[in-house]
Subunit: 153 residues, 2 copies
């Protein structure tokens, strides 16, 4: 992503957003890696923690990926011992996902470190400024989704 467009002298906002996201991702990676997780795997784990008993097909719908991609991610996390799957007795064609004790513990530790990272990074804004920033992010995301391309699914 390059810094600026054809007409302006300042970096594109699109570029600044990407730059911040990448910087944060690098930090996330440093946090999750010692626990044997990639940032994506951490994220998936936290989605599953918040939606107990979900199937991988449902996970795929929630995270806008194909059921196959979701299945692979779940299989990886299962192989690493962070979760287990059980046949859903009410609907035996699907498997309920449950975090193992190791999964729960690891997630909690990552959450704590990431809370601290966010406190660090965003304390460079004042409290009021931080709230304005939060609102601006939400507003622009909504505006972007409204603009142009229709949403998938």
């Amino acid at each position: 992503m390059e810094a600026r467009g054809a007409s302006s002298d300042e970096p594109r906002l699109t570029y600044l957003v990407k730059q911040l996201q990448e910087a944060l991702l690098d930090q996330l990676d440093g946090i999750t890696q010692p626990f044997g997780l990639t940032p994506r795997q951490y994220t998936t784990l936290s989605v599953l923690a918040r939606h107990r008993g979900m199937s991988s097909a449902a996970l795929g719908r929630l995270t806008f990926v194909t059921p196959q991609a979701a299945h692979e991610m779940v299989a990886t996390l299962e192989r690493k011992g962070f979760l287990e799957r059980f046949v859903d007795e009410d609907n035996r064609r699907q498997l309920e996902v449950e975090l193992t004790r190791a999964g729960t513990r690891t997630l909690a530790r990552c959450d704590e470190l990431i809370d601290r990272l966010e406190a660090d990074v965003f304390s460079s804004l004042g409290t009021a400024e931080r709230e304005r920033f939060r609102r601006a992010l939400a507003t622009c995301t909504a505006a972007t989704q409204r603009s142009g391309v229709p949403v998938r699914r």
Copy 2:
């Protein structure tokens, strides 16, 4: 990326940043795809346009990827006819990259459409608010890089 951390009730700022970046990326994709470019390829092209005659090793340093990854990207863009390479006569171990006419024209068209996208998306903030947003992004990126993990290279 899940919405919130362990303690708060609001989505993590980290999550909101990623969400906006992904929404913008979807739009970028819609813009560049008709020209036969991915958003990354467009970005590379605009970096090379701004740094005429750069080698792919230099591109790698600028974009924080390995020389091999940069070389692959350049090779792809060359294959698609957006740029050409010539031996640098001052330093014959490296190749200068130059945009073709098609590359320059395509880049200009994408830039124009992306300018319009940004105008669309960020007009949902007022002028003053947009400047605050820009400053907040830059401030947080700097704070993130200062925090924790040392910078690569």
